[in-house]
Symmetry: C2
Subunit: 466 residues, 2 copies
Amino acid sequence: MELSPVLAHIDADFDAAVARLSDLLRIPSVSTDPAFDQDTRRAADWLVDDLRTMGFNAAARPTIGHPMVVATHDGPPGYDGPRILYYGHYDVQPPDPLDLWESGPFEPVIRPSAYGDGKKIVARGAVDDKGQVMTFLEAFRAWHKVHGGPPVAVTVMLEGEEESGSGSLEPFLRENTADLAADVCVVSDTGMWNIDTPAITYMLRGMVYIEAVLHGPNRDLHSGVYGGNVVNPCNALAEILGKLHDRDGRVRIPGFYKDVRELEKKELKRWGELEFDEAAFMGSIGMKKSFGEKGRSPLERMWSRPTLDINGLYGGYQGKGAKTVIGSHAGAKISCRLVPDQNPDKIRKALVRYLEKHTPPGCRWEFQDHGCNPAIRVPTDSAFLRAAIRALKQVFPREPAVIGCGGSIPAVGSIQRILGYDSLLVGFGLEDDCVHSPNEKFELKCFANGIRAHATMLSEFAALRT
Amino acid sequence: MELSPVLAHIDADFDAAVARLSDLLRIPSVSTDPAFDQDTRRAADWLVDDLRTMGFNAAARPTIGHPMVVATHDGPPGYDGPRILYYGHYDVQPPDPLDLWESGPFEPVIRPSAYGDGKKIVARGAVDDKGQVMTFLEAFRAWHKVHGGPPVAVTVMLEGEEESGSGSLEPFLRENTADLAADVCVVSDTGMWNIDTPAITYMLRGMVYIEAVLHGPNRDLHSGVYGGNVVNPCNALAEILGKLHDRDGRVRIPGFYKDVRELEKKELKRWGELEFDEAAFMGSIGMKKSFGEKGRSPLERMWSRPTLDINGLYGGYQGKGAKTVIGSHAGAKISCRLVPDQNPDKIRKALVRYLEKHTPPGCRWEFQDHGCNPAIRVPTDSAFLRAAIRALKQVFPREPAVIGCGGSIPAVGSIQRILGYDSLLVGFGLEDDCVHSPNEKFELKCFANGIRAHATMLSEFAALRT
């Protein structure tokens, strides 16, 4: 089946594709906040309806949390080649801080981009991950319009809890192993090396995320009456958290680095050849130079070294002005990015043990889990990966880079362990897309090339049969 | 002029006095939050109207902040004895956390008390300071009803910013020195030793209160992309604040203890004789024992030792669930309780210098002042103090205790420095009144005895002339 008319249709239909993405972006599917549950549900239904228009058998399957969108297409009549599972997520991060958005986070707008005369679409989820999900959906649509369907068998699985710990994913995979059988998983939730250089990601960091609340006195206290005689949970929490890193920026939790796999020499060399621009990377966030674990390059710290970050801190009086109070409790949201071969459960236990070991007299901890998944590495020599590289070369002016990623995509590890096949991570985001930040955006050039790349990969995957 | 008919009138009129206090408590005069400015103004007007019904010349005088209620009465015809200034404040602390209140903070209710068959009134400001202000206002009212006015010349000054740093107080005192001339200031904003034992407070701690915000990256960041390569303001703030105390619970700011005056032997002995019940004090807040500066008794830590407490802590994502973000900034509300002879400006500078010295690379601090006033000591041998002791002995079953106080009443120091006379601190609160906490209350028995005590003190002050 011819690829060129598919690509021609994609170009002709691009404005409509942007309009469809805008419709999806208008739905505030913030999975972590129960206030948005109905909207999150709405986003799932929107995708099911859209997939059905492309000849997919689609449904929003119930889970213990937000629904899982599952859609299948058996490919051309009589097709008996490989089946590709496409994974993405339709939920988004909370939009706060709202006051820093130049336009409503759920009112997508098209603005001039910083790249030449290009344009970008601005909204929460523009690139993470609704925009990237639409790159392969639009590719399916084009194949459907031109050839009646994709050239290979396709299963689509879109999750609604990627931004809130993926609590339902593994139970769902275990219960639906047969329905989700495939030969490889394709994920578009990662980035390009730069706007002209596509990338295939082979390393992803894992994560352990807990919320720890330190409870002290049984009520808020007057700091004049009790100050000096009681454990102040704010003081105590700061002291305990403040000791989590040493002077060299290393995490002080016993055993934290024990299982960390060091990079191979040739890997380190290849990363060096990528010529990472530290000044540009840090400059874009208003900092002069990187700051982190001593003796490690920025790329190592981002891709192959574990971290511990406080993502949220609260205690005492949060309002305007002054209140002379000693709060009864103080809390922190703490996440660790993990690398091969750290065991998430071991790290979680070590973190909790560390906090408990430092419990001040008369105080107690309350812990809540917000996620626990291992880092992963995928093989760099599979037929699917080679096919993807061939496809990317046809669409982009520069050779694809094979890179790591500092973020976590829990699904990739779960699919590897439970469904038994690897993932191919091909994404079209850029470092300055403000993922998880105000004014998140997706370059329309990246959106268009992403659709073309997926359409081309489909034809390369189909060619693997012969 | 006879005292007994005044006391009789107070008893007969007590239910009406409780009703009047309830009216005042219904006004949410939270001075620190601009959203309540109109209500704060309303509380001032309410007091002006009430004072006028007692023959006072009263007005809500404008200031750079909330109005100052000033009222004067020249005493009996031809009176030429001492003039007493009564100080109190009509503003209150913010009521949060609201969910811990058993009834609306501004919907006063009468409930059975923990003391015998007594009753208590529950509301924000019940004791701090509206209830205490009403103890002397009701005494003036009774003297007015029975004898046409108080037996001495009286000036009343009620502040609207005591809970928010008293920003307008000193400018107002400087501009109105003549109007506020008096021989002594009587303050009812402190506590009793216990429900049967009145107390006169001769030591008050001072305070320095600043808000410090640490700014890092120019926006919130994805903790996967940037985690490990940037200063995380939440991590950094915890580390900096966590070093403010040493293992012995002493504040590590250079020079913090340099000017602290040690107690005299006989003072320490007298405090020992008070037989402070540490188990009860800590038990009431759910802790087993006190925790603080090593080698100091709980009373020393409360009355004569300085402290540093974080009253509020914030950074990153504060909402429900998880967000894998590195916040662009993190902040803390920090207050130090000061003792004689610490200099508030020196301590403030030392704290700021300490924080600035520990500024992480590429970050900057933003500071905001929320209060700065010295600790004070008042002489324990004045004629007014002896008169007050005589009065308290007539009203209460136990001898008055002469004590310190861990809290701060900025006005007392300002009056001493600017108006040039001392204060007499006689208050009727109890340790378990939940001052600054949910379910703040005032025992009706204390309210009634407070009114009687003020009525009796007025007659003892009048007797000083002869």
